[in-house]
């Protein structure tokens, strides 16, 4: 027997040490009382040499309490609203073009527009010339009217946009509450899944998430020195080549930006910045609120540092005139488009106001030419472009230039989404709600771990009682398996759920199955008269594929379950999968290395 077992023992030791090392943050995480785990106390308690504090085992909602919601977007209503607004828009457009319109209203299932007009043919041509990529005129309309319908792809797009818009609104709001580690995912069938660990008030969550978004237009005040005194109260933001040097101080900091004034000059406008909304709100409360008069308020928006896909976000303030000049109700539609008027295509946002909204917008833009207009969605400044010219019914927002086309187009899309969020209702309703109170979790954790330990102990004792020394070797491998599973879960950030604990125990039970198969085979080979050395080799070699097959079939079930389940059940599936993979390593490689070590001489004895 050559000394290859030495290398394998080294590998095993490395895996064991690596697992323990990866579990260091989890150790400190669970040492803290539940209430303090989410706070800064945890990150401070993790030693410097340990892996990132973010890599710790997470408790699922069923164990730490919190809210799980699946909100369904009422796409049917969103599409109806969109069609109704398009009908208004078309009527307005035809009147502008001098085509008489009696009425334009959705009919039937709310997806077809019936347009009553004295000049049907001309109306049809005018409308289709304008909207030919989106609409067509089906036949069968009554005398004196035309029907206008949307192409299938366009209707699908309306639905998709409604869901996207609802998701954005929900993200915005959850962001504002400062829930730690919220998980917001878009699921199939127009559903959005929201997990709020530790959030206690389901009624408040439902009420706030259920509202449609509120969009307001406000004018920034870049000439007022109201905010300037903070320069002496706070530190200036640390800067780098890409912008700010992240992370910013937790108490917030100040910075300046160069803003063009209507008079033609420029001014260095002071603003506050912080890492997140909560920190910024605290800084504003402390340093700015007292300085404001009735005509001003502070708006909070987002900024990014760096370029490309890895951009870090920070939050910043804008000084706004408190008066809401216009609300999103008057917006009929908005979309990203490409402006080809100046040669090269340039992404812009095109929006349409209702007739009344158009009049208000015209007044607003004429009075505030070359000032910045902030679009405030749900209390957050989404964008603040300069007003370049008079806008009435049909407006266009030009974006700051000098960035890649794709990035600008995405930004245009985002802004269009924001404008629409205030305009179109994308009502959400709750399809699924699971709330776990804070009192339940600790009890379940206690019972779950007790149950797991009992099962584990029984398996360990059985292996030793039945297989003696080889059973002990299998138990050593089992311990390593348990460590490895927990370490992998900590690394990939899986959440530990109650069914997950059951899955963990079950995989440990399954892991010894492999050793049972190997040991039985060794017994059989010994009975057939082979030497210990030969029996061990035969035992491992002949059973290897059986073990692989057995693991694969269970893995198949685990993967299917992971696709199907959500929440706790998914937690179970993930634990099962990780456990099975780890068990293939520990029960074959680890036990074999130890076994080879003890039977390395031909005269070796073995109790199996």
């Amino acid at each position: 027997m050559e000394r290859s077992w030495l290398w394998r023992v080294a590998l095993i030791a490395a895996v064991a040490l690596f697992s323990i090392y990866q579990l260091v943050p989890s150790w400190f995480y669970f040492k803290l009382p539940p209430g303090e785990r989410l706070g800064p106390a945890y990150e401070e308690s993790v030693p410097k040499w340990a892996p990132s504090a973010r890599r710790h085992l997470n408790l699922g909602l069923d164990l730490q309490g919190g809210i799980h919601l699946a909100m369904g977007v009422d796409v049917d209503r969103a599409v109806k609203a969109k069609v109704a607004r398009r009908a208004d828009e078309i009527a307005e457009y035809l009147k502008e073009k001098g085509v008489p319109v009696e009425s334009a209203k959705p009919v039937g299932d709310g997806r077809v527009i019936e347009l009553k007009t004295a000049e049907a043919a001309r109306a049809e041509k005018t409308v289709l010339d304008q909207y030919n990529s989106e609409m067509y005129a089906p036949s069968g309309a009554p005398q004196g009217a035309i029907w206008l319908a949307f192409k299938g792809k366009v209707l699908q797009d309306f639905q998709a946009k409604a869901v996207e818009q609802a998701e954005k609104t929900i993200r915005n709001r959850v962001d504002k509450w400062g829930v730690s580690e919220p998980d917001i995912k878009r699921k199939s069938n127009n559903q959005i899944q929201i997990q709020l660990p530790g959030f206690k008030d389901p009624e408040k969550a439902k009420e706030l998430l259920g509202r449609t978004a509120q969009l307001e237009f406000k004018i920034t005040d870049d000439e007022s020195p109201l905010v300037d005194p903070v320069r002496s109260e706070l530190a200036a933001c640390p800067s780098s080549e890409a912008g700010f040097k992240m992370p910013l101080p937790t108490e917030g900091c100040w910075s300046v930006e160069t803003v063009e004034l209507p008079s033609g000059g420029t001014r260095q406008v002071t603003f506050l910045a912080a890492n997140n909304r909560i920190e910024l709100d605290a800084a504003v409360q402390k340093h700015v609120s007292a300085k404001l008069d009735h005509d001003h308020e502070v708006g909070v928006g987002e900024g990014t540092v760096g370029q490309g896909p890895v951009r870090e976000r920070y939050y910043r303030t804008y000084l706004l005139h408190a008066k809401t000049e216009l609300t999103g109700d008057y917006i009929a539609d908005a979309r990203a488009a490409v402006d080809n008027s100046q040669g090269a295509g340039k992404p812009v946002v095109v929006f349409t106001m209702s007739p009344e909204g158009g009049r208000l917008m015209e007044k607003l833009t004429t009075n505030n030419l070359r000032r910045r207009m902030a679009t405030v969605l749900d209390g957050k400044v989404e964008t603040a472009p300069y007003i370049q010219g008079k806008i009435s019914t049909n407006g266009q927002i030009t974006l700051g230039s000098g960035r890649p086309y794709q990035q600008m187009y995405e930004e245009a899309n985002d802004i269009a989404l924001v404008l629409k969020a205030g305009a179109l209702p994308a009502p959400v309703t709750i399809f699924e709600e699971r709330t776990v109170g804070a009192t339940l979790g600790p009890e379940l954790i206690k019972k779950g771990t007790t149950a797991a330990l009992i099962g584990l102990l029984l398996v360990v004792l059985f292996m030793i009682a039945y297989y003696r020394a080889t059973g002990l070797i299998a138990d050593v491998a089992l311990a390593l398996n348990g460590l490895l599973v927990l370490a992998i879960m900590a690394i990939i950030g899986t959440t530990l759920t109650l069914p997950g604990i059951a899955g963990f125990v079950l995989t440990l039970g399954m892991a010894v199955d492999a050793n049972v198969l190997i040991n039985e085979r060794i017994r059989e080979e010994l009975r057939a008269g082979r030497s210990v050395r030969q029996a061990v080799d035969q035992g491992y070699d002949k059973v290897f594929w059986t073990i692989v097959d057995a693991h694969v079939t269970t893995l198949v079930a685990g993967v299917v379950l992971m696709q199907y389940g959500s929440g706790p059940v998914r937690g179970f599936a993930v634990t099962l999968i990780i456990g099975l993979i780890a068990s293939m390593f520990t029960s074959i490689v680890v036990t074999r290395a130890i076994m080879d070590f003890f039977t390395r001489r031909d005269t070796a004895r073995l109790s199996v």
Binding site: E432, L444, L498, V560, V569, R605
Partner: protein, 398 residues
């Protein structure tokens, strides 16, 4: 050898599994049919949890004993006719599971009554919008907008309690729409429990609400997931061994899944997402034993060329009898703790898993392995009666 070891199952057994396969198949068929018939709604039915049936489920803990029948009576008096109340976990915990199947608090008549009442008092524009899948929300538009208080008063005058009236952007630009949301089951039950059993300090520890559409979808997907898993496993085993083994695997898999389902059908325990997880795990795990026996059959086919397949299968099952039993035993041992300390779904998970493991071992011995000669025999009969003495066709090695 230094230590005397022992075998739980002797290593030289000679049971005739193949010969008993007809009896085993008939017995299993009867058991399976019994479970399936019992699971039919018309006969007894599965006790679907809110995951699949839709509805609201609340886990409430009191600090002293409260009569479950009293809780049910009070919930039913709130208008939920199909409420069920069970004790949850050990008696000493005073925990109860209250389940109300009906989600839509408003029936279509309620909705019509509300709409008539609002139309009588306020200038409603167009037709109000009610989605029965949602069940607690009606959208109104008006020609002249009322205040939210006026609208709330109008709805409550029709006898429907309102939780919130929400003002939203309307269908066309510049108009407003009003969403009337009626009081949810949770609010209603919780406030009622507080007034009736306030001295026992009810603590609502967990609430699960699943809409009817989602419930249906989860049920269909769960069923599909089990079928997919079975299909994939059958294909894998077929590719790794021989597709001649497939009928045995399919029958054994279906058998184990149905027997596991039987736990839920007969015990009347709640059938929910976790139950689907158990069945899937059983499906994946119960093949393990089968794989062990198949491997041995393949090994023996190479070793004893020309031996009759039936004898070969019998020999193979007997040779690995001990380990197929022991692997299941070891896995079952790990479940003991969960069976003792498991609460609610976790207890059901372990109990059903245990039954699935037992069923998996049984089906390996009596169904999956003996069935491998089924196709062989049929093929022989087809060829000709005289060809019976011919050695069976050599299995294809993979």
């Amino acid at each position: 050898m230094q230590f005397k070891t022992f075998d739980i199952i002797p290593h030289d057994t000679k049971f005739d599994f193949v010969g008993k396969r007809h009896i085993a198949v008939v017995l299993s068929l009867i058991a399976n049919l019994a479970v399936l018939i019992f699971s039919l709604n018309a006969v007894h039915g599965l006790n679907f949890g809110v995951d699949f049936a839709g509805g609201t489920e609340m886990e409430v803990k009191f600090d002293r004993v409260v009569d479950a029948a009293n809780i049910r009576k009070s919930v039913e008096e709130l208008g939920f006719k199909d409420a069920s109340v069970q004790t949850y976990g050990p008696e000493s915990e005073h925990s109860y599971l209250i389940r109300v199947g009906r989600i839509a608090l408003m029936s279509q008549e309620d909705v019509n009554r509300v709409i008539q009442a609002v139309k009588a008092k306020l200038p409603v524009a167009g037709e109000p919008h009610f989605n029965s899948e949602v069940g607690d929300k009606i959208d109104f538009q008006f020609t002249k907008n009322p205040t939210t208080q006026e609208l709330k008063a109008a709805v409550e005058a029709a006898g429907v309690k309102v939780r919130e009236v929400r003002e939203e952007a309307g269908l066309t630009a510049g108009t407003r729409s009003f969403a009337v949301i009626t009081q949810g089951i949770r609010d209603k039950v919780e406030s009622d429990l507080l007034t009736r059993f306030g001295d026992a300090k009810p603590d609502v520890r967990r609430v699960e609400y699943v809409g009817p559409a989602v419930g249906r979808e989860l049920r269909n997907q769960g069923f599909k997931a089990i079928l997919y898993a079975m299909g994939l496993i059958v294909i894998y085993v077929g590719l790794r061994f021989d597709f001649r083994f497939s009928p045995g695997v399919i029958i054994a898999l279906v058998h184990d899944a149905i027997i596991t389902l039987g736990y839920f059908a007969l015990s009347g325990r709640e059938f929910n997402l976790t139950s689907v997880a158990v069945i899937l795990t059983v499906v994946g795990y119960s093949v393990n034993d089968t794989v062990v026996v198949y491997d041995r059959i393949r090994e023996n086919q190479a070793k004893y060329k020309g031996k009759h397949l039936g004898d070969l299968v019998n020999l193979s099952i007997n040779e690995v009898l001990g380990r197929t039993f022991l692997t299941s035993f070891a896995t079952a041992l790990s479940l003991v703790g969960l069976l003792i300390y498991g609460v609610g779904t976790i207890f059901d998970f372990s109990a059903a898993m245990l039954i699935g493991i037992i069923s998996g071992t049984y089906s390996t011995w009596f169904i999956a392995a003996p069935m491998t000669i089924w196709l062989e025999e049929r093929a022989e009969k087809k060829r000709s009666p005289t060809a019976r003495q011919q050695p069976p066709q050599q299995a294809k090695s993979v």
